[in-house]
C-alpha cells in the first residue's frame, strides 16, 4: 500500500486515492484527427520504471495529484499539484 504525499493534505494512505493513469498524455486539439485522439485515449507506454501518473484524492480533497512512481519497486520519487512539472529520476 502506498502512502502518497498529497500537496494539499499531506501524507495519506493509498486507500483514499483512485488511480487515473498516465499524467503525461495531453488532450489533442479538437481538429487533430481520429489518430491523435486514439493515441490520447488508448496508446500507453506501460514503462518498467518511472512513471508520472494521476492519483485522484477522491476520499480527501478531490484534487488530482501528480505522482512519480516506479512501476517495479513502487517507490515514489515525488508528488505535486496538477500543474507542477515533476523531475523524473534517472533509472
Amino acid at each position: 500500500m502506498h502512502r502518497i504525499d498529497c500537496p494539499w493534505c499531506g501524507p495519506r494512505d493509498e486507500a483514499e486515492f483512485a488511480y487515473r493513469g498516465d499524467a503525461t498524455v495531453r488532450r489533442p486539439a479538437h481538429d487533430a484527427g481520429i489518430d491523435a485522439f486514439y493515441d490520447y485515449v488508448y496508446t500507453r507506454a506501460n514503462p518498467r520504471g518511472w512513471h508520472t501518473e494521476w492519483w485522484h484524492h477522491a476520499g480527501g480533497c478531490r484534487q488530482f495529484v501528480k505522482v512519480v512512481r516506479h512501476t517495479m519497486t513502487h517507490e515514489i520519487a515525488g508528488t505535486g499539484k496538477a500543474g507542477d512539472s515533476l523531475p523524473v529520476p534517472a533509472e
Partner: protein, 981 residues
C-alpha cells in the same frame, strides 16, 4: 503370567513449557484425549500416541505430524463445531483449550480406512498436469462429470456454511521499529531498539515468546529477563499470537492477531481476530529459519518428522515423538536432536549421515549413539506409522532395515525469507548454508536465522546489532548493550543433500503431493523456469507455501536443468505467509455494514407508507408502495396509471446534483456535453448528453441556468460520482485555465417529481410567488417560489412524458413540501410512485436509462444523434470512428409482445422466426399502462426499417421464445404534446 509389552511413556515427568498439574480434555475424531496448558493440539496428539492425523490432498496417503510450527504441510484438521468450525487448521499451531473439538480431513469414511486411497494405487496415471491434459474436452463433460468428481476426491477441509457468529476488527498501528519474530534475535533487536527510545512493536505468531529459546533450558533465565525488560519499556508493545503475513510497499505490513482462537468462545465484547495494518519506519525481520526435508521414498509416512520438530516436542512440550528413532541429517545443528530425544526417554537413536564421519558424528559416537556416516535413507515402511527405516551406504546397492518408530529428517536450515521476498528484497545464495539469504533494503533488515546467522549466540549478536541499527535509522541513538546468551554454536556449514535416488515416491511438497518425479516431468515438458514448474506441478503453492520442501523442489529442477539452485532461484513469495480467515479480511464489512446506506430525507415517510425498498447504488429507493394484499405488479400499474390519468409524486432526491459556477462555467459545460449550454437563457433547463472521450455515452441529465455564470447540473443516480470525477479531471488537468468551480449538492437538495394531467392544478393550490401556468412557467422553465412556507425551486421538466414539475427544496424542508403536495393532490387522486413505476413510465415514453446507456452505446445508437453540436466536446472525435457510425449498428426500438400478457425479458435476443442469428437484444421491459401488456426497449440492427415487423424474443436460458412487434420506442405521445400542455 504373560508380560504384556509396556506402552512407552510419551510425556516426560518434567521440563518444558507445559503445566502438567492441570489437564485439558479435547476430542479428535470423536475420541476424548487429555493434554495440558501449553500444549498445541499437535503435541497433545503425539503425547496421546496418535500418529495418523490426516490424509493427503491427491493420493490420500496417511499422514502424521511433520513439524512443530506454521510450516506444517500435513497435519491439517477442522477445529470447532457448527458455525465455528474452521477447516484446514494446522494442528501444530492450534493452542489446546479445554473442550476443543477437532476432526481429521480428506478421508472417507474414516481416517484409518480411506476408500479414496485408491488414488494412490492409480498414481502413475495421475502425474503433474494430469487434469490439464485429460479433461480438456468435451467442455460439457468437464462441468458435469469431471469437476464434481475431482472436487469430491481432492481438496481439503470444508468450511461451515453457517453465518459466522464472531466479529473481527480492523486495526491500524504505527511504530518506529517493527520486529517480526521473538526468537533470540527478535528479543535482542526489540530490546535494543526499545531501550534506545524507539516505539517498537514486537510481533510473535506463537503463544509464547522465545522461538528457538523455548527448546534451550539453559537460556530460560535469559529469555525471562529479556521479556521482563521489554515489559518494563512503555514504548515497546509485544503482541503474541500475531502472524505478520504480508509485506507491502513503503513498510506497510499486515498482521493477524488471533485474539480468541485459543478460547472456546471469544470473551464478551472481544473480536475473534484482529487484522492489523502496521506502518513501520524500520522493519527487523527476525523470522528465524525453516528446516528442510530431504526427498526419499516414503518421506511422507506417519512417523517421519523434521529433526528440529522432534527436538521441540521433547524440549518444549516434554513429548517423546518416538522411542526408537533414526536421525537422517546432513548438518551438525540436527545433532542437537540426539540429546533431546535421549533425555526425553528414547530407547535408542541411530544417526544416518550422508557425509563422511565428521566432528559432530564422532562426538555423537562418543556419547554412545550409533552413527552410520556416508549412509542414506532409502525408504520408510509402515503405512499407519513407521516401523522400519531402510538405509544403505552411499554408492552401494545393498539396503538394510533399521527398526524404528520415528524418523527425524534434516536437510539443513534455510532462512524464513517469505516476508523479505514479498517486499522484493534481493536474495543472495549462500553456499555455506546452501540457502537463499536476504539482503537489506531501505527501512528493512533481516536478523539472526532469517539471514543465515544460525545458532543462539550468533543470532543474539546479530539481533542486537539489527535493533540498534534500526533504532538509529529511525533517529534514536543506541544505549549501552545488555548481556547476550553465550556459548558455542554448532557449525552451520551444510553439505547440500537434496534427494536420495531410489525407487518410490519422494515428496518435495507434502501438502500438494508433489514428488521429485513430478518436477522432472514438468522439466521434460518444457516448464523449465521455476515459476512455470511451480504452477504446473503446484509445488509450494499449498497453504504452507513450501516452507519445508520449496528449495528441495528447486534443487531437483536445477539438477534436471544441469544448473545450480542459485541460478534456478526461488519463486517470489506472495501474501499470505500463513492462511488468514476471510472473516478477518472482511472485518466489519459484512451484512448490513458491507457498504454504507444512503437514505433520502423522505425515507421514513416511504417506510411508513409501506414502500418496498430497492438498492440503487448505495441508495435505498422505494420500488413501489403496495397496499395490503396488493400484488407488486398491481401496485406498480396503479401508480403508473395515476401519473397517466391524474397525478403522482415521486422522490427523485437521489439524482446527482452539481452546482457549477464561474465566468467560464458555460464554456466548461459546452466542452463536456454534446449540446450547447452557452446559449441557454437564464431561467431555462436543457436536456444534456455527456460522452466519454472514447465516444460512448456516459450520462444524461438536465442542466439549468440560474444566472449567466451559475448552472445547476443533474446526473443519473448511478453515475453521480463518475460525472463529478469526470468534471474534476477536466477542470483540473485538461482545461486548468477555465474559471469554473463546482460542488456536489446532491445531499443539500431534496427533489420530487409531480407528474400527470392534474400536476398543475395540484401544485397551484400550494405554490406561492410563481405563476405555473404554461405561459408563466413554460416547458423547460425554471423558477424559485415558496411552497407551504418553504423555499422551493421549480423545474418544468418531465421524465414520464406527462405534464410535470420537479420541485426541489433544501433538504430539511423535504417532508413539509412533500406532505403539502400530497394533501393538495388528494382531491385529484394523487399517488406516490416508486422506481418501478418511474421505469414503466420512461419505457412507455421511450426515454433511455442505465440499461441502454451501458457504456457500449453511442448517441446514434440510442436515437439521440441529433444532439451532437458542431464544435468541440469530449468524445466527439472518437464517436466519429467508422465502427461507431456503421449504419448496421443496433439502434433503439420499441418491442411489444404480440400476445399482450406474454412476459418478455431483458437480455432476450431478437431473431427472425426460424432463425438463430441475433439481430439485437431487449434492454428494458415493463408491463404497461397505456399501450397495455408487456413492452420494452431494444437495440436492433436495421431499427427504423423494422418498425411493424414481427420478430421472436428468444431467451434460451428459460427456453422461451415470445413473438414481439417492433415499433418506435415512443409508445406514448410521440408528438410530445402532453409535456407542453
Amino acid at each position: 503370567m504373560i508380560e504384556l509389552p509396556r506402552r512407552p511413556r510419551l510425556r516426560t515427568r518434567k521440563g518444558g513449557h507445559v503445566d502438567r498439574d492441570r489437564s485439558l480434555t479435547f476430542r479428535f475424531d470423536g475420541r476424548a484425549y487429555q493434554g495440558h496448558p501449553g500444549d498445541t493440539l499437535a503435541s497433545a496428539l503425539l503425547a496421546a500416541g496418535v500418529r495418523i492425523v490426516g490424509r493427503s490432498f491427491k493420493y490420500h496417503r496417511p499422514r502424521g505430524i511433520y513439524t512443530a510450527g506454521p510450516e506444517e504441510p500435513n497435519a491439517l484438521a477442522g477445529i470447532g463445531t457448527g458455525a465455528r468450525a474452521t477447516p484446514n487448521s494446522k494442528v501444530t499451531t492450534v493452542e489446546l483449550h479445554d473442550g476443543l473439538v477437532a476432526r481429521s480431513q480428506n478421508r472417507w469414511p474414516s481416517l484409518a480406512l480411506d476408500l479414496m486411497c485408491v488414488n494412490s494405487a492409480l498414481s502413475r496415471f495421475l502425474p503433474a498436469g494430469f487434469y490439464y491434459k485429460t479433461f480438456m474436452w468435451p467442455a460439457a463433460f468437464w462441468e458435469k462429470v469431471y469437476e464434481p468428481a475431482i472436487r469430491r476426491a481432492a481438496g481439503l477441509g470444508r468450511a461451515s456454511a453457517l453465518p459466522d457468529p464472531d466479529h473481527y476488527e480492523a486495526c491500524h498501528a504505527h511504530c518506529d521499529v517493527l520486529v517480526v519474530g521473538s526468537g533470540v534475535a527478535g528479543l535482542a533487536a526489540a530490546r535494543a531498539a526499545g531501550e534506545a527510545g524507539a516505539r517498537v512493536i514486537l510481533a510473535e505468531q506463537d503463544f509464547l515468546a522465545g522461538g528457538g529459546l523455548l527448546c534451550e533450558p539453559g537460556q530460560e533465565a535469559w529469555r525471562q529477563e529479556a521479556l521482563a525488560a521489554l515489559a518494563a519499556l512503555p514504548n515497546v508493545t509485544t503482541t503474541l499470537r500475531t502472524t505478520v503475513f504480508g509485506y507491502y510497499e513503503q513498510n506497510m505490513l499486515g498482521a493477524l492477531e488471533r485474539v480468541a482462537d485459543h478460547l472456546p468462545v471469544p470473551p464478551a465484547h472481544q473480536p475473534r481476530q484482529r487484522y492489523w495494518t502496521i506502518r513501520a519506519g524500520e522493519v527487523v525481520l527476525a523470522t528465524g529459519a525453516d528446516e528442510r526435508l530431504i526427498a526419499f521414498p516414503g518421506n511422507d509416512r506417519p512417523g517421519v518428522m523434521l529433526a528440529g520438530a522432534a527436538r521441540t516436542y521433547a524440549r518444549r512440550f516434554g513429548v517423546l515423538a518416538g522411542s526408537r528413532a533414526v536421525l537422517f541429517a546432513n548438518n551438525d545443528e540436527a545433532y542437537g536432536t540426539l540429546a533431546a530425544l535421549a533425555e526425553a526417554g528414547a530407547e535408542r537413536v541411530t544417526v544416518v549421515d550422508p557425509r563422511p564421519l565428521g566432528p559432530a558424528a564422532a562426538a555423537a559416537r562418543r556419547q554412545g549413539f550409533e552413527v552410520l556416516a556416508g549412509h542414506e535413507v532409502t525408504g520408510g515402511h509402515g503405512g499407519r506409522g513407521i516401523y522400519s527405516v531402510e538405509a544403505r551406504a552411499i554408492g552401494s546397492a545393498g539396503a538394510f532395515q533399521i527398526d524404528a518408530d520415528l524418523l527425524c529428517v534434516s536437510g539443513g536450515y534455510g532462512p524464513a525469507i517469505q516476508l523479505a521476498s514479498q517486499s522484493r528484497t534481493a536474495m543472495r545464495w549462500d553456499d555455506r548454508i546452501a540457502a537463499f539469504v536476504p539482503g537489506d533494503a531501505p527501512g528493512q533488515r533481516s536478523a539472526g536465522g532469517a539471514r543465515g546467522c544460525f545458532g543462539i549466540a550468533a543470532a543474539a549478536r546479530d539481533g542486537l546489532a539489527a535493533g540498534q541499527a534500526a533504532a538509529s535509522a529511525a533517529g534514536f541513538a543506541a544505549k549501552a548493550a545488555f548481556a547476550l546468551p553465550e556459548g558455542d554454536d554448532p557449525d552451520a556449514t551444510v553439505a547440500p543433500f537434496w534427494e536420495v535416488r531410489a525407487r518410490g515416491k519422494s515428496f518435495v511438497d507434502l501438502q500438494h503431493d508433489v514428488t521429485t518425479a513430478d518436477i522432472r516431468l514438468a522439466h521434460r515438458e518444457g516448464y523449465r523456469h521455476i515459476e512455470h514448474a511451480k504452477r504446473y506441478t503446484t509445488h509450494a503453492m499449498a497453504t504452507d507455501q513450501g516452507k519445508t520442501g520449496g528449495l528441495v523442489g528447486a534443487a531437483v529442477l536445477a539438477e534436471a536443468r544441469g544448473e545450480t539452485v542459485a541460478v534456478v532461484g526461488m519463486p517470489t513469495y506472495r501474501p499470505y505467509v500463513s492462511p488468514v480467515t476471510w472473516g478477518a479480511v472482511a472485518g466489519h464489512h459484512r451484512g448490513r455494514a458491507f457498504a454504507p446506506i444512503r437514505r433520502t430525507m423522505l425515507h421514513d415517510w416511504h417506510a411508513r407508507r409501506g414502500a418496498e425498498f430497492m438498492e440503487a447504488g448505495l441508495w435505498l429507493r422505494p420500488a413501489f408502495y403496495a397496499r395490503p394484499g396488493e400484488a407488486p405488479w398491481d401496485a406498480i400499474l396503479r401508480e403508473g396509471r395515476a401519473v397517466r390519468q391524474a397525478v403522482g409524486i415521486c422522490d427523485v432526491s437521489t439524482l446527482g446534483k452539481i452546482d457549477v459556477q464561474g465566468s467560464d462555467a458555460a464554456t466548461f459545460l459546452d466542452r463536456l456535453y454534446t449540446n450547447t449550454f452557452s446559449t441557454l437563457p437564464v431561467g431555462k433547463a436543457r436536456y444534456g448528453l455527456m460522452l466519454r472521450e472514447d465516444g460512448m455515452v456516459m450520462d444524461d441529465g438536465t442542466t439549468s441556468r440560474l444566472a449567466p455564470d451559475h448552472f445547476f447540473v443533474t446526473t443519473t443516480t448511478a453515475n453521480a460520482g463518475r460525472v463529478m470525477e469526470h468534471m474534476e479531471f477536466h477542470a483540473q488537468t485538461v482545461w486548468p485555465e477555465l474559471d469554473v468551480q463546482f460542488a456536489s449538492v446532491t445531499d443539500q437538495w431534496a427533489s420530487m417529481s409531480v407528474a400527470g394531467p392534474e400536476a398543475r392544478r395540484t401544485l397551484a393550490k400550494v405554490i406561492a410567488g410563481l405563476d405555473i401556468s404554461d405561459a408563466g412557467l413554460p416547458f423547460m422553465g425554471v423558477a424559485d417560489a415558496t411552497l407551504a412556507g418553504c423555499p422551493v425551486r421549480v423545474f418544468r421538466i418531465s421524465f414520464s412524458g406527462e405534464l410535470a414539475f420537479e420541485v426541489a427544496t433544501p433538504a430539511g424542508y423535504a417532508l413539509a413540501v412533500w406532505e403539502a403536495i400530497l394533501a393538495a393532490g388528494a382531491e385529484f387522486g394523487i399517488e406516490p410512485y416508486g422506481v418501478e413505476a418511474l421505469g414503466l413510465l420512461r419505457i412507455e415514453k421511450g426515454h433511455v436509462a442505465g440499461a441502454e446507456l451501458n457504456g457500449q452505446t453511442t448517441m446514434r445508437d440510442v436515437g439521440l444523434g441529433k444532439m451532437a453540436k458542431k464544435g468541440d466536446f469530449v468524445g466527439k472525435v472518437l464517436a466519429g470512428r467508422p465502427g461507431l457510425t456503421d449504419p448496421a449498428r443496433p439502434r433503439l426500438v420499441g418491442v411489444r409482445a404480440v400476445d399482450r400478457e406474454r412476459q418478455i425479458r431483458p437480455g432476450a435476443h431478437l431473431v427472425e422466426p426460424g432463425s438463430d442469428r441475433s439481430l439485437g437484444w431487449i434492454t428494458s421491459v415493463t408491463r404497461s399502462v397505456e399501450p397495455g401488456g408487456w413492452i420494452g426497449l431494444a437495440m436492433l440492427s436495421g431499427d427504423a426499417d423494422r418498425h411493424g415487423q414481427r420478430l421472436v424474443a428468444a431467451f434460451p436460458l428459460m427456453n422461451e421464445a415470445v413473438e414481439v412487434e417492433i415499433s418506435s420506442p415512443h409508445f406514448v405521445d410521440p408528438e410530445n404534446a402532453r409535456v407542453r400542455s
